[in-house]
Assembly symmetry: none
């Protein structure tokens, strides 16, 4: 079964509102094995909505539309669907009864505008909405089944669960599942080369890469019976992990800080942070993980040189001789925060996040990293592109990745 998802509303087309419904519906359909072929976001215009429905029904067996079922004149989904089917709108006794059942216990009388909500394309079925006024619509358009749901998130979610998914469940024995392997440290092009045969067009399961917040995700998509799908996903995920090795830091919704937290817990290790250009971002990401108080002793945002000297014990002379963004300073920061806090691992970052402060020697994006532990101190230099926010976000992930590699027993691998 193939589906198209339509999202209707001028606030979405203008970008003032963000369409999150289509992704939510696509995930729910995917879990039942229904392949979503595309989404479309349409304005509150009956003619445009009609064109959208006709095109969708040409491409799919199932069309799910959200929005445009309200009582105000800018709600045009009913009109658009009727035009697409080629039938008039008629008052639906069923829909009127639903509206009455919603309004009566609330002591409200149906207004003229509420009655508009009971006008359905001839032959369509009204779907009960237990949490709002707008009834949903179930109709046929050519060979496709069309569901129209309200745009209010709580109403859409409830009706998707109660009215749409149960009607599809029995129809599909097949499921479509996605497994995600998350990597950091290799460019997408290199990952693509290492996985070239798995990613070949037409191969099943389908393997695809996507950049997500500085990391490269490998998505593996499989469909079939639940057992078969799980077996296929497991085999491909194992192969992807074998080929990519230490660049794999997690699966699914794992973030880099989750990988670091798991290693800290495994080793019973404590960590302390000395941040300059990231300004607390590394600490904030670690603290995203519940229970971090067991492992994070402290973080010091030594933004001024005076703080680097006073709180971290960085010798003033080496700041003067090498500058705050330098290997000797970052090493002294990592060793200083480790010694001061008594943590097992000290991590330091100092760099030029921009937009100003760059020099020919140390352009904007130059970042020095250091990780100090019982075995010594390891330093690394990177040059990141992008604006201030991007450079700082990448710096934080890169630093956490260095900690991950160090804790998992490795040196910084050659590819970094």
């Amino acid at each position: 079964m193939r589906a198209v998802v339509l999202s209707i509303g001028s606030e979405l087309v203008t970008g003032l509102g963000l369409d999150t419904h289509s992704a939510e519906i696509a995930l729910a359909l995917g879990s039942l094995g229904v392949a979503v072929v595309r989404h479309e976001t349409l304005d509150d215009d009956a003619a445009q909505i009609a064109v959208g429905f006709v095109a969708a029904a040409g491409d799919a067996d199932l069309v799910i539309a959200t929005g445009g079922l309200g009582p105000t004149p800018d709600d045009r989904t009913r009109d658009g669907l009727a035009q697409a089917i080629g039938v008039p709108l008629e008052a639906s006794a069923e829909a009127l009864a639903m509206l009455e059942a919603w309004s009566a216990p609330r002591g409200r009388k149906l207004s003229e505008s509420n009655r508009r909500q009971a006008m359905l394309p001839r032959g369509a079925e009204a779907l009960p909405n237990p949490v709002g006024t707008a009834p949903g619509i179930l109709a046929r358009l050519g060979r496709a089944t069309v569901f129209c749901l309200p745009g209010v998130p709580s109403e859409m979610e409830r009706m998707l669960a109660d009215q749409v998914l149960p009607r599809l469940r029995s129809a599909e024995a097949r499921v479509l599942r996605v497994r995600t392997v998350r990597t950091f440290g290799l460019p997408e092009s290199v990952i693509g080369e290492r996985l070239a045969d798995l990613m070949a067009p037409g191969r099943r399961p389908r393997v695809a890469t996507a950049v997500h917040a500085g990391a490269i995700d490998v998505h593996i998509h499989a469909s079939g019976s639940a057992n078969e799908v799980d077996r296929l996903l497991e085999a491909d995920a194992a192969e992807v992990k074998r080929r990519l090795g230490a660049v794999v830091f997690g699966e699914g919704a794992d973030e880099m800080e989750d990988a670091v937290a798991a290693l800290l817990a495994q080793r019973g290790a404590k960590i302390a942070l000395a941040e300059s250009s990231t300004g607390g971002l590394i600490a904030a990401r670690l603290v995203n993980v519940p229970g971090m108080s067991e492992h994070l002793v402290e973080g010091i945002v030594a933004y001024s040189n005076a703080s680097k000297v006073r709180l971290l014990g960085v010798p003033k002379e080496i700041i003067e001789r090498h500058g705050a963004v330098s290997e000797p300073v970052v090493r002294a920061m990592a060793e200083g925060v480790r010694a001061g806090s008594g943590a097992d691992v000290g991590v330091a970052v100092t760099g030029v996040a921009g937009p100003s402060g760059g020099t020919p020697d140390k352009p904007v994006g130059t970042i020095w990293f250091a990780v100090a532990d019982g075995a010594g101190t390891q330093a690394a230099r990177e040059l990141f592109a992008g604006d201030r926010a991007t450079i700082r976000a990448r710096t934080a992930v890169y630093a956490l990745n260095l900690v991950r590699l160090r804790l998992s027993g490795g040196r910084k691998p050659d590819f970094l």
Copy 2:
């Protein structure tokens, strides 16, 4: 001018990723008076992409596509566009030079897969990407102009600003502009009551509220000639600000940290932070503002009690007597970080971000705040709802807002 926005990527169609680019692009186009007629989200399938381009070019003068320009075999936008135009893909010397210019200073050689990124539909122009490998594409399809941008957010945003918008500006005499007044501290319903007449349906300019990351935004929408629009927006914005008073912290893209930074600059004041439950989030938000090194002396993430004692000079006895989440401790933290750093203002936060650690006395979401300056120390207690990430994010904004109110000469107003 009419536009269609296409978003390409299987992770978007399946709902694993959320398309935020289309809304961002639609907003940017709207501000130039370009009417966006619809968005479409398409799979990484060359034939489907080609159909999407042809349909878009039939409906609009301008088509902007994002995604599918990467180096791996699942990146199919180039192929889809070439099919739509009816021309072959050819290696573009221009695009190759851009890829070389990106790779050479990074010591990387162009791989075969990178070279795919230089294959453009015959006759298309390569657009430089200063922050990533994928060049953009500018092409004609029928009567429409087509721009293809990378899907990586930092790259898309930079190229939209540098390559797309400047080519459109000046083309339109009629503009649609939105002005946003940002507030913090009053519930949306109260703001709605204070602005009821301005928000009446049908009134022009249209005034609407939206919740955005804990703040309530008031959006004012006007269209017409540039002069007229600016006059209408200015009048409404002034009226909104007059009615809402001290809860207004900024306009447009201003964040709370921008308001604090502006006040620090105005007063030539220095600030230091002592964070516990927020784990560096307040520092990280302040450091979002370029030039913060002039004002932020240091931030201390005193996550353990030992760090609160050693780095902030909090007396051990008051932690033992009152607990780490208490008014005496938060006051001592704020005063300690101020004294230690020599800053004018010391800010402290300690609380229970959850999911565990709550008690009947101090449930999850309990946060103590303190701001210390030359005039004394002010403390406040709040109870936030939500999960760990939400509680921490709200705590950071609330703390910055307290600093804002303190720096702007006010006490904590009654409504907080």
